[in-house]
């Protein structure tokens, strides 16, 4: 590699030149920052400014560039120099826009800017140009597990986009749940009548597609590897095992209907005239095949009255059945009631519900059913019992507030969706519940055979921000396996997951990170000689990217990695880092700050801010000219999970008066891009108190905050409150010892 040559560019535009002495900044970059080349420019992001940098890169052989201008989140296109290492000092949002314009403030404002230039120079010198994963693998085939509507759609979408697809279905036929239906809820205007399922056409398109290979009656024996190089053992119908090499995987394993046998109070099992929704579809198909009316199972008589019991074994607060709502079942019951009404308006159809949930265009479908004369009754069903010539449904009418009963020839229970997620890897190995579960993916990963589960057994997905994204890079969950959903949603879901799978193979082939740092060429590099085999990285990696070899050293699977840096934050001996983000790049910035002595009454507060939420919130606060204390120095971090405690001890040792950490919400309804990052940081910071005590410092000197991207006003207030608190407890006694 060419010899390092650093250059710093200081922009005077956007008012920087008017409010700050860029001369002074340039001197700092030169004398303290030891930049080989320092230039000031009136309008750096303009064509001329950018051209100047380009020329220096070409003619002066500059390899490292510091841009002291706006936030690193601004002007990323103008300041895109893919051949050099880059650092940004945030003078515009970080200083100018967040500090008061008054003349008296000018001194502190300049001090702040000076520090950011020092920090930028320090970071730059520790940064290397990321070159991409050298082990990039280029298999672009996509494996789809599951041949229902979700799986078929994912396969077809990927194939149409030009990718080879392998589809594995455990049954001997394709179609899944949809193939069992008489009709489906309509997808299109006017949302008035049940529609044909269209499943035969979909199956024909898949089986007839030259780029799709289908294995029926097949299961996965083992899945190993990483995006771009998965190797999957498939047990096929003949019993033989074939190996399929693929680049990414879509898991669309669907759901099973909740077992209505667990609902004896609702009459299931006591009389054949109580069926679940699948049972009704069966009756409807039989009727259609015979060309007549739907007949009840007990005696084959035509059904003259039918009652639909919504939420059967669902939304159960008592803990015995499903606690959640499966979302599709109200519309499904409406559709099934229409089977009767459309054939014969004289049939009485009553839907007993507590809340009718028909989101989106389902409302039109609901209205259509009302027009057709389906009766909707708000009530809570207490019991269904066999009665002479039918069933007796006892319920509480919630509008008229009375207990009533009614008789019907047939009762349909709307039971819910139970995801086919495989094994719950979080259960202990000796848990009998785990033994009963059959793995689906059979991952040869250290972290377990299937994907983590999010809630209620549904396969993981980043529920809040990024559907389909799971914690296993290159494997995407689609359809009701990741959350309850209907067919229209499953189609959309499968399409999204197919696109994600395509992105994953393309990124893996280029040695780049997948979402959320998609395109990032840096990857974790380990100095394995220093590793003490403590296993913290392998355990804490939220994405299961790190396996272990026989001697218990971590084995990084770069293309499974999301570049969150959690492993770097975890490593007690600090042997993990990225070319452009490491213990040193941040550590050097911390130490570069000019520390006023303890009599100056100028505290210094280090703020480590998550670049996904907290840092943008700070930028937006600046954009709104929300003023905050000039004593704070902000360093963006990839995730709070990447914060190594050494940074904090270093900061306190070098005389900082306090350290603020701002990350995303963690816990049940986490907002963390890296799922567990902020949670781990919180856990680690819980232990920092001991360190503080050893140093003889107050515990308030380290504070962790949950900040959302929308907390624009709040971030500025948090900083001010914290600085006030520090002034109250006094400056750090550690100053001057560093």
């Amino acid at each position: 590699m060419a010899e390092t040559k650093t250059a710093a560019y200081i922009c005077q535009g956007c008012g920087i030149g008017e409010r700050l002495s860029t001369r002074q900044l340039a001197q700092i970059a030169q004398k303290e920052g030891k930049m080989a080349l320092v230039r000031e420019h009136p309008f750096l992001c303009g064509a001329e400014g950018v051209g100047l940098i380009r020329d220096d890169i070409e003619r002066e052989a500059v390899t490292h560039v510091l841009i002291a201008a706006c936030s690193r989140r601004a002007k990323t296109e103008a300041f895109h120099f893919p051949t050099v290492a880059l650092a940004r000092a945030n003078l515009r949002e970080g200083v100018l826009w967040s500090q008061p314009e008054a003349d008296e403030a000018a001194g502190l404002t300049q001090e702040m800017a000076n520090d950011y230039v020092r920090m930028g120079c320090a970071e730059l010198k520790k940064t290397k140009l990321p070159l991409g994963n050298p082990l990039a693998a280029t298999n672009r085939r996509i494996l789809v597990v599951g041949g229902g509507v979700s799986g078929l759609t994912a396969a077809l979408e990927a194939a149409r986009a030009g990718y080879q697809v392998v589809l594995v279905e455990k049954e001997r036929a394709l179609g899944g749940w949809a193939a069992k239906l008489h009709k489906r809820v309509p997808f299109r205007e006017p949302h008035a009548d049940p529609a044909d399922t269209g499943i035969e056409q979909l199956i024909a398109q898949v089986t007839g597609h030259p780029r799709i290979r289908v294995h029926l009656g097949a299961t996965l024996l083992e899945t190993r590897g990483a995006p771009g190089r998965f190797s999957v053992q498939v047990s096929v119908e003949s019993g033989a095992a074939v190996t399929e090499e693929v680049g990414s995987i879509v898991q669309a394993t669907g759901f099973t209907l909740y077992d209505a046998g667990k609902l004896p109070a609702l009459g299931y099992g006591k009389t054949p005239d109580v069926v679940d929704q699948a049972g009704l579809e069966r009756l409807a198909r039989q009727a259609a095949a015979a060309g007549g009316a739907i007949r009840r199972p007990s005696d084959g008589a035509e059904v003259g009255s039918v009652v639909f019991v919504q939420c059967a074994g669902q939304r159960d607060e008592g803990g015995s059945h499903l606690p959640y709502c499966s979302g599709h079942c109200c519309a499904t019951s409406i559709k099934q009631a229409m089977y009767f009404k459309d054939a014969n308006p004289e049939v009485d159809t009553v839907v007993i519900y507590t809340d009718l949930r028909v989101p989106g265009s389902g409302e039109d479908f609901y209205r259509s059913a009302q027009r057709k004369g389906v009766t909707f009754t708000k009530g809570r069903v207490a019991s269904v019992e066999p009665a002479s010539g039918g069933c007796k449904v006892s319920f509480r009418d919630l509008i008229l507030d009375e207990d009533v009963a009614l008789e019907a020839d047939l009762v349909v229970l709307a039971t819910g969706q139970v995801p086919n997620s495989g094994v719950n890897i979080e259960l202990a190995d000796d848990d009998p519940a785990k033994a009963a579960q059959v793995p689906i993916l059979n991952l040869a990963y250290r972290q377990g055979k299937d994907m983590p589960q999010l809630k209620h057994g549904f396969t993981d997905s980043h529920f809040i921000c990024f559907p389909y994204e799971t914690r296993r890079t290159g494997i995407y969950a689609a359809g009701p396996v990741r959350r309850p959903m209907d067919m229209a949603q499953a189609v959309e879901d499968a399409t999204g997951a197919a696109l994600k799978a395509i992105q994953a193979v393309e990124n893996a082939a280029a040695g780049r990170a997948a979402h959320p740092r998609s395109g990032d060429l840096s990857y974790p590099i380990v100095r394995i000689e220093g590793c003490t085999q403590c296993k913290r990285c392998t355990v804490e990696c939220p994405f299961g990217a790190i396996d272990e070899d026989e001697s218990r050293f971590p084995v990084f699977n770069e293309s499974r990695c999301r570049r969150c840096g959690t492993c770097m934050g975890a490593c007690p001996v600090r042997v993990i880092g990225f070319e452009n983000y490491s213990v040193d790049t941040v550590g050097a910035q911390i130490k570069a700050v000019d520390m006023p002595d303890e009599f100056s009454e100028k505290p210094r507060v280090l703020l480590l801010a998550c670049e996904n939420d907290a840092y943008p919130a700070l930028d937006m606060a600046a954009l709104q000219r929300r003023v905050y204390s000039a004593f704070v120095r902000v360093i963006p971090v990839r995730c709070l999970g990447s914060v190594n405690t050494i940074w904090i001890t270093d900061a306190l040792n070098s005389g900082y008066d306090g350290v603020m950490l701002m990350g995303c919400k963690h816990g049940e309804d986490y907002q963390c891009h890296f799922v567990k990052g902020s949670e781990l940081a919180n856990y680690r910071m819980g232990k920092i108190d001991d360190t503080l005590k050893q140093l003889g410092l107050e515990t308030e000197r380290v504070a962790t905050y949950e900040v959302a991207i929308t907390d624009v006003a709040r971030v500025a207030r948090l900083i001010d409150d914290y600085v006030a608190k520090i002034l109250e407890i006094g400056l750090s006694p550690m100053k001057g010892f560093a």
């Binding site: 009255s305 009302q370 004369g373 009766t375 009754t377 008229l400 009963a405």
Partner: protein
């Protein structure tokens, strides 16, 4: 509990016989109407409940109820109903149907007044205000009538002075020029309406 309950029979009856009755099945039981009605807490069954009772087949309770007679035609519910039910019209439709069947509560004051008003009006084609108010005062007997009239005497005298009330109307009422024609028009209208409601062939 009768097996007919919650079946569609009474709902169908309402659909066929009550003005705008075909809307009842479209109610989604949100309760916005009941919450909007100024009568809210003061009557037996607010609209939402009445519609549910119809769907539950409570024929006698609905038709014998005084609820729909209480509606003031303020139209609050109509403007708010997310399902766009013409609730006010259904209220009057139900009242009218109950009245036709003779099931409406006999001494319901709204019903009494409406009947008085109609008789008064249709006789001559003009409303005789004096007769109408006296009829109203005396509807609960002579003694109560005197009491009512005395309570209103200041207003009455004031109207007399302002020439807004002519005592002669009592003996020689005004009539429309073509009262006969009006009777013919009303008879025809009734015939059309009855036909529409399926009451006559």
């Amino acid at each position: 509990m009768s097996g007919e309950r919650y079946r569609n029979s009474f709902l169908r009856e309402v659909e066929h016989n009550v003005e705008e009755g075909h809307w009842v099945k479209m109610c989604m039981q949100c309760g916005v109407c009941s919450g909007s009605c100024p009568f809210g807490p003061h009557w037996a069954h607010p609209p939402q409940e009445l519609f549910m009772m119809i769907r539950a087949g409570k024929r006698e309770e609905v038709l014998g109820s005084d609820a729909m007679w209480m509606c003031t035609s303020c139209y609050n519910c109509v403007v708010r109903c997310p399902r766009k039910l013409p609730i006010t019209h259904i209220m009057h439709g139900l009242a009218n149907y109950a009245h036709r069947l003779g099931l409406a509560p006999k001494n319901q004051p709204t019903r009494q007044f409406a009947k008085m008003f109609w008789d008064n009006l249709s006789k001559t084609g003009r409303v005789n205000e004096l007769k109408l108010s006296l009829g109203l005062y005396f509807k609960d007997g002579f003694k109560q009538g005197i009491r009512n009239a005395l309570a209103m005497k200041d207003i009455g005298l004031g109207m007399l002075k302002a020439k807004r009330l002519n005592p002669l109307e009592l003996v020689k009422p005004h009539a429309c020029k073509g009262a006969k024609d009006i009777h013919a028009i009303l008879a025809k209208a009734k015939e059309i309406e009855d036909r529409r409601k399926g009451l006559s062939a």
